[in-house]
């Protein structure tokens, strides 16, 4: 396959970026999208040019480090895939592909396609945990949890923190990310003790980090690689209102 790439190049957070054009002539359908970028970087190395910086690590869809907006869609053309799971069989010979970083005020560009997602850590620091110290724990089977509740908590806990929800949202809201953690912990009996403080602190942190408000368009859930449900945002709102009522 012959592929034309239009890739966002930007030296640093403060520098101005622009799209550069590259040509690859020997792309194969079985390659993953990132292997195609590896190929480009090998070409650039041979030519003595600086490589294209992009985030990636596990390349199996679970670490959440890969990002990229491909032809205007976070994580590329297939819904609920990560960029690293996207393969070139989703494109055809002669295609031009636009590759840009995740864009949001709270995700400043570091270089080229890499962005800073420290704001997600800050939100978790605000309350996205259960305060059980090492050594505190009771016998695990002392707290029976209904199979369906545990499974439902898992559905929320599956969030990989990639930020595709933010990159997709027209308001750059991280509501889906925040609500996934709030729902995961609020659904479990162990997490209920701190639910009031958790929702208040995490939502405050979300707003302070510069993420926008949720207007419930549902675009985030359409791209989420782990298919975190839009319903989690409703659960978060419930938790928030509950916290208001009991304070």
């Amino acid at each position: 396959m012959k592929i034309t790439l239009k890739i966002w190049r930007q030296e640093s957070a403060k520098a101005k970026g622009k799209l550069e054009t590259y040509q690859l002539n020997e792309v194969e359908q079985d390659m993953s999208f990132l292997e195609m970028l590896d190929m480009l970087n090998e070409d650039l190395a041979v030519k003595g040019e600086r490589s294209v910086e992009f985030d990636h690590d596990c390349r199996e869809g679970i670490c959440g480090q890969c990002s990229l907006v491909i032809n205007g869609q976070a994580h590329g053309p297939e819904s609920h895939y990560t960029t690293c799971q996207t393969h070139m069989r989703s494109f055809k010979d002669g295609d031009t592909i636009f590759i840009e970083p995740f864009r949001a005020k709270a995700f400043p560009v570091i270089r080229d396609l890499k962005v800073n997602r420290d704001s997600f850590d800050t939100i978790i620091q605000a309350g996205g945990y259960i305060s059980a110290f090492t050594g505190n724990a009771p016998e695990a089977n002392n707290i029976p949890i209904h199979h369906d509740i545990s499974e439902s908590a898992f559905d929320s806990a599956a969030c990989i923190g990639c930020g595709a929800c933010v990159a997709t949202c027209k308001n750059s809201s991280a509501a889906l990310f925040v609500s996934a953690k709030i729902s995961h912990l609020a659904k479990l009996p162990q997490g209920k003790v701190e639910r009031k403080e958790r929702v208040e602190w995490m939502i405050t942190a979300h707003d302070e980090e510069g993420f926008g408000s949720c207007t419930h368009t549902g675009a985030c859930a359409m791209v989420c690689p782990q298919e975190v449900q839009l319903l989690d945002i409703t659960r978060m709102n419930f938790e928030f209102n509950r916290a208001l009522c009991i304070s």
Binding site: E53, I124, I130, G161
Partner: protein
């Protein structure tokens, strides 16, 4: 220097209790005067960071990822073992200890393994309290599945994302401490060297991967939880940035490296499909609970798998190992696959795979049950290959996976450098010559949360009067200069061969001769090829960009420079061990029926290698003694 494993005296089952009763402690008021550097933020490093910070020490944690939540523990799928005996199937701590020692082919230290089995029970309680949504029965009680190499069900799981869920709990515990101010995290930072003062580990030199700035950090002790180096094979189940550099640079500063050649080749990964491939995605071992592995009886059979009738299939694991069947340990399963592929029965375009078939299980249990157990794995398989495994068998192949070898550590998890500790996959303990499935999450978590925070106080008790360690000393100057010199040297090569291309060439050598089957001739050949490749790297590597900013090519080059040395030691280690044990299968040393044959008379030891420079090494032996288990031939037949 003689190796001292510092095993506490007393009966095996009481050693850990006796150790804790007699060790030195640091008073809570003194802990805040003590700095600890932790490198790595996965289950071992992250667990240690969170637990040490909870105790009140000043913890600084360094990792190259953008967030601790991305550490490669996240990718572990199948589960975590614990001797809870919830299934009433006769499990005990001793039984788990026995399975682990046997699984490791009697090449691990009894006291460490027993402690891991003991603490497994607490770990499940701890992780449940942290909110890990483990799989449960409809009664609400915790559920278990079975893994390779055991006859009980002791594996706890969170669908096929157990590692992710344990890591989230650990990451969240870390974040809580960051907020409290007891833990400072340095993301996108890479360790490039260690600073020793009066022989003790006192600090690190790191590169800020965003700005390129070289920084100095000091501490009273340093803990490495940096994982394994299986990425040396280039194609592996590891993350792209997983590397052996932190442990290797510690080794070059005096930490002995043990059993480096013992690499687990995982039997169920996705096969290589092309030359540009960068990764062999793992398909969890748990799939072998319900999947059956087979190849066509006829050589070069080109029929579609569903067109091949049952009587023309060779379910070779069930045939060779009737007692354990598809659930034999990983080394056995990988070698059996290699044997069939070498005999011409491999399937797929490159004849480099075998089938993993769910037809029988789907017929018996229904699609819905299989979906609940492994749904995410089937989805992952479809995303990568485009194939629906509910309708046709998966194609799987052996791939480099886990490093049983690592830094040599004593019972306290201390390396041969005082004040330098290694936890999780970065050390060599517990797994012997082969790791059992679901023992990796366990070892990493237990080391980080329960063992290290308890043993490190025995060392730190003598540090309460030391005061802050200054970084403006000649030891820091020298270490920083060495790091900067190496970066300059790498950037001045300006050759024509991309770093990844050299790494792929190294991977080919290693997978051919230092992987599933080794022999003297091949190993000698590999050592020469590695040396040639190292020379090519230092004269012809194309490393572009500069040092003053983000530069992935420079990061990769630094890691590859280390791999090119680790590779040589791996081959030397494999060559020095004239026996077959666990994952180390020497073709010269096999029984009449083709199984691995140990030589306990001569090789009942862990090989701990001392760096002599250049590169050159000296072998030290830690002789292993087994008092609580009968040493037998490992059989799964």
């Amino acid at each position: 220097m003689a190796l001292n494993a510092k095993e506490p005296k007393g009966p095996l089952k009481d050693k850990w209790r006796l150790y804790n009763e007699h060790k030195n402690l640091v008073n809570p008021a003194n802990r805040k005067k003590i700095d600890i550097i932790v490198v790595g933020a996965g289950l071992s490093g992250g667990g240690a960071s969170a637990s040490l910070a909870e105790l009140g020490y000043n913890v600084k944690t360094f990792f190259f990822q953008d967030s601790a939540r991305r550490s490669h523990s996240v990718a572990a799928q199948g589960g975590v073992n614990a001797a809870k005996n919830y299934q009433n199937d006769g499990d005990t701590i001793y039984k788990m200890f026995y399975d682990t020692i046997k699984g490791g082919d009697y090449r691990s230290r009894e006291a460490n393994v027993y402690r891991m089995a003991q603490l497994s029970v607490d770990l499940i309680d701890h992780m449940t309290a942290q909110g890990v949504p483990f799989g449960r029965e409809y009664s609400g009680y915790l559920s278990n599945r079975s893994f390779g190499g055991v006859l009980v069900s002791r594996t706890f799981y969170a669908r096929g994302q157990t590692g992710q869920q344990l890591l989230m709990a650990t990451y969240q515990a870390m974040m809580k401490q960051v907020k409290k101010g007891t833990l400072t995290q340095y993301n996108r930072h890479e360790i490039l060297d260690f600073v020793l003062i009066d022989g003790k580990a006192r600090g690190v030199i790191v590169r800020d991967l965003v700005t390129g700035k070289i920084e100095r950090h000091s501490a009273h002790a340093v803990v490495l939880g940096t994982g394994g180096f299986g990425k040396i094979y280039y194609l592996s189940t590891l993350a792209m940035n997983s590397n052996g550099s932190a442990t290797w640079r510690a080794h070059k500063k005096g930490a002995f490296f043990a059993n480096p050649s013992w690499t687990q080749i995982h039997p169920t990964a996705l096969p290589q499909a092309g030359d540009q491939q960068s990764k062999l995605t793992l398909m969890s071992e748990s799939l072998r609970n319900d999947g059956r592995i087979w190849v066509p009886l006829k050589k070069d059979d080109d029929r579609l798998p569903n067109d091949i009738p049952d009587e023309e299939r060779d379910y070779y694991l069930e045939r060779r190992y009737p007692a354990f069947g598809n659930l034999v340990p990983r080394d056995v399963a990988s070698r059996a696959a290699k044997e069939r592929m070498d005999a011409g029965h491999g399937i797929g375009k490159l004849k480099n795979a075998v089938y993993l078939d769910f037809r029988t299980a789907i017929g018996k249990l229904g699609v819905d049950t299989i979906k609940e157990r492994y749904g995410n794995l089937f989805t992952m398989y479809k995303k990568i290959t485009g194939i629906d495994a509910y309708k046709e068998p998966m194609k799987i192949s052996p791939a480099a996976h886990f490093s049983m070898g690592g830094l040599w550590v004593d019972y306290e998890l201390g390396t041969t450098i005082p004040g330098l500790y290694a936890v999780g996959e970065a050390n060599f303990a517990d797994h012997g010559a082969n790791r059992l499935g679901a023992n990796s999450l366990l070892q990493a978590s237990v080391d980080g949360n329960f063992v290290l925070p308890n043993t490190i106080s025995n060392y730190l008790a003598d540090e309460i009067r030391t005061g802050p360690i200054p970084t403006d000393t000649k030891e820091f100057d020298e270490a920083e200069k060495a790091v900067k010199d190496q970066i300059d040297k790498l950037l001045s090569i300006k050759g024509k061969t991309p770093v990844d291309r050299i790494h792929r060439a190294l991977g080919k050598i290693m997978f051919k001769e230092v992987a599933m089957a080794r022999n003297e001739k091949g190993l000698i050949w590999a050592i020469e090829e590695i040396k040639k490749l190292r020379k090519q790297f230092w004269t012809d590597a194309a490393i572009t960009g500069d040092a003053d900013g983000m530069n992935s090519e420079l990061e990769k080059a630094g890691r590859l420079a280390d791999y090119l040395e680790i590779a040589e030691l791996m081959a030397i280690d494999a060559l020095s061990r004239n026996e077959s044990c666990g994952a180390h299968f020497r073709e010269e040393f096999v029984s009449d029926d083709g199984e691995a044959e140990r030589n306990d008379e001569e090789f009942m030891y862990s090989a701990a290698w001392e760096w002599l420079g250049k590169p050159d090494w000296k072998l030290h032996k830690e002789h292993l003694e087994f008092h609580d288990i009968e040493v037998k031939t490992r059989s799964y037949k």
